[in-house]
Amino acid sequence: MTVASQIADTPVRGVQRRAGLIGRPLVLITIGLVVAFVAIPLVATDYWLSSIIIPTIVMGLAGLGLNLLMGYAGLVSLGAAAFMSIGAFATYNLLLRLPVLPLPVVLVLAGLIAAAAGILFGLPSLRIKGFYLGASTLGAQFFFEWLFTNFKWFSNGSQSLTISAPRLAFLGWDLSAATGRYLLVAAVTALLILLAYAIVHSRVGREWMAIRDQDTAAAVIGIRIGRRKLLAYAISSFFCGIAGALWAFGYLGTADAHAFDLDKSFQVLFIVLIGGTATLFGSFFGAAFIVLTPILLDRIVLATSLTASADQGALANLQRIIFGVIIILLLIKEPDGLSSLLRRGLSGVRRRDTASRAPLG
């Protein structure tokens, strides 16, 4: 039995029940794959791929990684970007220094290196919980930004302390053009979504959620809380690490440590909260929001030809204000994130007459 059909046969359980929305998972998965790997590469322009689709997917992947930690295991990280940077710098150095390794192996190794760092900075979770836990990952945020700036070895002595993909190729295909980078990003992300699905629907995911909902009870019924928490940090960092590598090489092309600064960590956090915690696809909506909103605001200004007359600086600042207001509004009005909004919207369209579904915890 293939993994895909296995998933198709498994009833959708847990927190992201989408009964009604996804009636026939296999069909939807197939449609999704066709859209992702046939339609988009054929239809989308360079502009769409390079500046909207790729960053959305990669940030969504980072959000998914953080969501595993925050949404499913109920832990906190304010330093997701630190683990992204580890993945990026590890990928670069592995590609550079061990040229025999093929790209997929390098990505997995880079993810594992990030996972190791995740375990290290997750150690305080054995002693403290709640918002304070953020401090340790915040420490990681500043430490790694410094580490990759301070030691030129990590960027192979580059004058600008930047890393760029030495060779973005797989099985002889050059992946450095927009479509190639998109296919790389989409393929890796699809596999990782599958992995996340498997994790969430395994004993590991169940126990994370148990710890999240009731840690005392979880301990009493015999769940290894400490180990599970560290595993959550490890797996979350694994995802973030690979997302970081894709961010650096699939999207930016060239990056330095500051591409993974505190702002980026906060962005990933926004993505999780806005997209919806404890959902697998919510992060991608959140990422689309974060990537698209500033562009849309800019475009609206452009389209309404305010540019000719109005004060450019004022408009730019206004955009920033509106972005902040939208974020606050979303947090207020959509506690369960965009994914729940979308779910409601779609089920509303499909089954306007059905009574309200059971609220989702």
């Binding site: 359980r13 847990g14 498997a198 169940r206 959620m209 009731q214 301990a219 019924i221 015999g222 059971a358």
Partner: protein
């Protein structure tokens, strides 16, 4: 005292100088239902928490199934076969009934996380056997209609039963029930007490439970231990306890 599953000896517990348990000793026989009763603040919940390691006793020791310990980690307690339910709702609120029950099998999991995630090796057999066991318990406690329901949306009485199922699925030798019938109406109480006695009879599980409703306790329990301000004031069969003047003074007379 032919076959004590649980033996408490001289157990004391204090929080910030306030004595919760005062040199408590008693035995729980294998296969019996032992009820802990006593007024609020008598130390009943604290005692359960000491037995399964949530609290650490200041003095005394506990012998469970031949294993003697002074303090125990909750995980170790679970491994030894001590299961429990909670006074206040401690279910995994956003999980479904089946997921809650499956989580109760955590201590039986032998597969490592990679096997779990990729459905390899031991995980395959585990998934099957866990699902079977969970379904069996769910059927046993008549929770089948709600199997895929998110527990926080269930009515209170059913949630209590899910809690019982979660503890029971791991096949505990000793089941600690912390007020399994609190807040229930008479019908629900009768139903729950029926389930508890079923568990005891059909699965052979030894039960220690806390309950305020003396009527139910006297019907259900084989053995009653009465606590008052952390001290044991009565210990015996329901009839013995009913006639114990100390108990009447300390508890029965004052509350109901």
């Amino acid at each position: 005292m032919a076959d004590a599953l649980l033996r408490l000896h001289d157990v004391s517990l204090a929080f910030k100088g306030i004595t919760a348990l005062n040199r408590l000793s008693f035995d729980v026989e294998r296969g019996e239902i032992c009820a802990l009763i006593g007024p609020n603040g008598a130390g009943k919940s604290s005692l359960l928490n000491v037995i399964n390691g949530v609290y650490r006793a200041n003095t005394g020791d506990i012998v469970f199934d031949g294993v003697r310990f002074e303090r125990i980690h909750p995980l170790k307690a679970a491994d030894l076969g001590i299961g429990r339910t909670f006074q206040h709702n401690a279910l995994f609120g956003r999980l479904t009934v089946i997921e809650n029950v499956l989580a109760g099998l955590a201590r039986h999991g032998r597969a490592n996380f990679l096997e779990n995630i990729f459905r390899l090796g031991r995980d395959r057999a585990e998934r099957r056997s866990f699902t079977t066991r969970a379904h069996r318990i769910i059927a046993f406690l008549e929770l089948d209609p709600h199997i895929e329901t998110v527990v926080s949306t269930l009515p209170y009485g059913l949630q209590k039963r899910v809690d019982l199922a979660r503890a029971l699925v791991a096949d505990p030798k000793l089941l600690l029930l912390d007020e399994p019938m609190a807040g229930m109406n008479q019908d629900e109480k009768a139903e729950m007490s029926h389930f508890v006695s079923d568990v005891n009879e059909k699965l052979g599980t030894t039960v220690v439970l806390i309950e305020h409703d003396v009527g139910i306790v006297m019907d259900l329990a084989d053995h009653v231990v009465v606590l008052d301000y952390g001290r044991k004031v009565g210990d015996g069969t329901p009839d013995e306890v009913r006639n114990n003047p100390d108990v009447i003074a300390a508890y029965l007379g004052t509350v109901h």
